[in-house]
């Protein structure tokens, strides 16, 4: 086992990047602004829209965040996973509507492919192309061997990918499709005439999600059959860390916002935070956030240094982050009282994002069930 750095691999560069991201989001992506952007129409049956700030995204691209974890050989900066994790955390703290998380996830899947085509695709990410994963079947299966897309004899793709995150914000897709002998991974352009997007009507206002229907879509092979599924499996710890980081950031916003409300809102002649029925659960939210954050950093660090237990740690992180996200969101709504239950209060943005994130890549129980086999041994 390699020596694990005490600082999880957060060197000076990673810390500076994180700090500049925090400032960037606080300057440009406050909850009021996000709310104006995405929560214009409360109608449950409104047209499915995909509101996001494309000029802000251009700034993100120019800051070089997409290149951060792309290897130098592919035209990136070659920073460790914790760099993307801390950016994802800051994005989560702002409920940032963008394909940032999806593009980071795609980056780590592409890195695991290890082919010339995947290196080329990484180069497009480094130069600013938003990219997402299309790897889920109609049942929402989390298995890398499951897909409803097939590779034709001519190398084109036909079938449907489900639950594709940020599909309408991305210009290319990393698609899992069944070829001869197993699942491969393929790069498909959003502009290809063989691709159509059917948007899902989702609850989370800060994301978009869709089905991608492929009818003879032109595809570049990133990893051949079987190797594609293996690359998805190999990248799983990174994907779980990134999803956890988004939840950790959301948790911090929910805690901070609720604490501020509990400091100022007066009932029975006292600020809410005076009452231990409010104070103690808020402390519990903080404990759960810290657990999720430390587990996420440790898993990201273990993934980077190639530890055997990286996947176990990442499952622990996602399990903890999922439960924490739900808990933090529920306490935030509850302690904001009547106003917390309304559309005008910003809390619902983060509540909905956390509820969406908790099931993304598997909820807490899913990961604990698998962890039990690893930690206790298989059940009889």
């Amino acid at each position: 086992m390699a020596t694990q750095p005490k600082n999880f691999g957060f060197g000076e560069d990673e810390t500076m990047l994180r700090d500049s991201a925090r400032k960037f989001f606080s300057d440009n992506c406050g909850a009021d602004k996000v709310h104006r952007l995405v929560a214009g129409d409360p109608n449950m049956f409104r047209e499915i829209d995909c509101a996001w700030d494309e000029s802000l995204w251009q700034q993100v691209v120019e800051l070089g965040w997409l290149a951060a974890c792309v290897p130098e050989a592919a035209g990136g900066i070659g920073m460790p996973l914790v760099a993307a994790v801390s950016l994802a955390e800051e994005a989560g703290r702002s409920a940032y509507p963008s394909p940032l998380l999806s593009t980071f996830m795609s980056t780590f899947v592409l890195k695991a492919c290890g082919t010339p085509a995947s290196t080329e695709a990484l180069g497009t990410i480094a130069s600013g192309t938003p990219t997402t994963l299309a790897v889920t079947n109609s049942l929402g299966s989390l298995e890398s061997g499951d897909t409803d897309v097939k590779v034709g004899n001519d190398g084109t793709l036909t079938g449907t990918s489900y639950y594709v995150q940020d599909a309408r914000k991305c210009s290319q897709y990393v698609v899992s499709a069944e070829g001869a002998g197993g699942n491969g991974l393929y790069l498909v352009q959003a502009a290809d005439p063989g691709v159509s997007i059917e948007a899902d009507a989702i609850i989370d206002l800060t994301r978009d999600q869709a089905q991608l229907v492929f009818t003879g879509a032109a595809a570049v092979e990133l990893a051949p059959p079987r190797a594609g599924a293996a690359a998805l499996d190999a990248a799983l710890p990174a994907l779980l860390c990134l999803a956890s980081a988004d939840l950790v950031g959301a948790g911090e916003w929910l805690l901070q916002t609720t604490v501020e409300y509990a400091q100022t809102r007066v009932q029975f002649d006292r600020p809410l935070g005076f009452f231990q029925a409010v104070k103690h659960p808020l402390v519990n939210v903080m404990l759960e956030i810290d657990n999720a954050k430390s587990l996420t950093y440790s898993a990201a660090c273990a993934m980077e240094t190639g530890e055997d237990n990286a996947l176990d740690l990442a499952r622990m992180a996602k399990s903890q982050a999922s439960d924490m996200g739900v808990f933090a969101a529920s306490r935030a709504v509850q302690f904001h009282g009547g106003i917390g239950f309304t559309w005008e209060c910003y809390v619902h943005l983060f509540f909905k994002r956390a509820m969406h994130s908790q099931t993304l890549l598997g909820d807490a129980r899913h990961h604990r069930t698998i962890l039990a086999d690893s930690l206790i041994g298989r059940a009889a």
């Binding site: 104070k279 103690h280 402390v283 657990n291 954050k293 430390s294 587990l295 622990m316 059940a379 009889a380």
Partner: protein, 414 residues
């Protein structure tokens, strides 16, 4: 550990080599009697005597009190106690018996006593010859520490002390006590003063020590009664009325947040052949594999499995939080993780032991004296004992107040 060594100063590196060398030939070996889990549970005088012998030899060799000045019996070094602690831990030495003395009394005396009192008391404390206990808690001052009723009344150059202290670990062996008491009945916080008082030499002369029996049936702590105990004024620490401030020095060091590193050895397995560990999720998993449940074992029950994994996650998170707490760039508030420590660790232990009841099923009814008790009845014993630590040193409800007020900045709940 390799990392620690590479960051040693020249003095630390030389001292580390010395410690390694000394420990090679001076490890005390296996104890002749069964030792409890820690110093606070000492009840057998033979075990205490053996441990005092170990502390004295480590002190004489310079491994204890390294960072205290030589004038008060210390080693006069800088940043070396942490080195000695690491090497004693690595050499798997027994624990040190004078835990309250070194962890709480010594730094308080060092920062607040007059010089001749430091020179008088610290050598015997650091060597372990004088065992110390702590007189903070009272029947009416538990979590509300400032509600002290034990009263010290000025009497010329002396003070006359009357009152009643409870939950006093080690008092039955103690030579000395750090004592928080009231000197002014009209001012809750500024009416407190802090003393060091003799115990064993004054038994029957104003001091009575009575053992308290825990809910487990074990002894471990005591109540101490003062009736007109006469104490010279020189044993007052800091100003009259400054007791609360002095007590904060004690509590900061108790939490490991004070400037002085507490001498600590340990690492020697306490386990005799076949003894039971009740402090980790993996020991629970091992227990579950041996306990029958619905035709299989408890380790095959999906709900039990989920609970074990939840506790494993909390245990791992606690470890990783400690790692993160040492990286200033990764914590928004410096006390956010340190102030969680006691709360999180004691609740984890309680929940581990509670789950053991369900894993053992009906057999959890069997206690330590029953030959059929799973794991020698240690899990139910650990569960009952776990309340000692969720209550002691500021009940966890008070810990949550502290976190909510000091870290989150919520209004004080009083």
């Amino acid at each position: 550990m390799a990392q620690n060594q590479s960051k040693d100063t020249a003095e630390q590196a030389e001292f580390r080599a010395y410690c390694v060398d000394w420990l090679k030939s001076n490890h005390p070996g296996r104890p002749p009697v069964k030792l409890p889990l820690g110093a606070l549970e000492l009840s057998d005088p033979e075990a205490l005597k053996w441990l005092q012998g170990w502390q004295k030899s480590a002190y004489d060799a310079g491994l204890i009190g390294c960072d205290y000045p030589t004038e008060v019996g210390g080693g006069g070094r800088d940043g070396c106690q942490i080195i000695a602690n690491q090497e004693m831990q690595r050499a798997k030495t027994p624990f040190l018996p004078n835990i309250i003395g070194m962890g709480m009394a010594a730094p308080t005396i060092f920062f607040h006593a007059q010089d001749d009192v430091k020179a008088e008391l610290l050598p015997g404390l650091l060597s372990g010859e004088d065992i110390w206990c702590q007189g903070f808690s009272e029947p009416g001052a538990g979590s509300d520490l400032a509600n002290q009723q034990t009263f010290a009344e000025r009497d010329g150059d002396n003070w006359k002390i009357n009152g009643h202290k409870v939950w006093t670990s080690l008092a039955h062996f103690a030579s000395w006590m750090i004592l928080l008491c009231r000197t002014d009945k009209n001012d809750k916080y500024n009416g407190l003063s802090y003393f060091v008082v003799p115990i064993s030499s004054m038994l029957g002369k104003g001091v009575t020590v009575r053992p308290l029996i825990k809910m487990t049936g074990q002894t471990g702590f005591n109540e101490v009664l003062f009736e007109d105990l006469v104490v010279p004024d020189k044993y007052r620490l800091d100003e009259v009325g400054a007791g609360w401030k002095v007590a904060m020095t004690t509590l900061a060091h108790e939490r490991g947040a004070g400037p002085l590193v507490t001498p600590a050895s340990g690492g020697m397995s306490n386990d005799e052949e076949g003894s039971v560990s009740t402090n980790s999720a993996s020991s629970l998993a091992a227990l579950a594999k041996g306990q029958p449940r619905a035709g299989k074992t408890a380790a095959d029950d999906p709900l039990i499995r989920d609970e074990i994994v939840k506790l494993t996650i909390r245990q791992e998170a606690m470890r990783q939080n400690a790692r993160r707490a040492s990286v200033p760039a990764l914590v928004d508030h410096p006390m956010r993780i340190p102030l969680q420590g006691k709360l999180v660790a004691t609740e984890l232990n309680q929940d581990l032991a509670e789950l053991a009841y369900q894993i053992e099923g009906v057999a959890s009814s069997l206690y330590v004296a029953d030959d059929n008790a799973p794991a020698q009845g240690q899990w139910p014993l650990a569960y009952m004992n776990s309340f000692g630590v969720t209550i002691a040193a500021g009940a966890n409800e008070v810990q949550r107040n502290i976190l909510g007020e000091r870290v989150l900045g919520l209004a004080k709940s009083k």
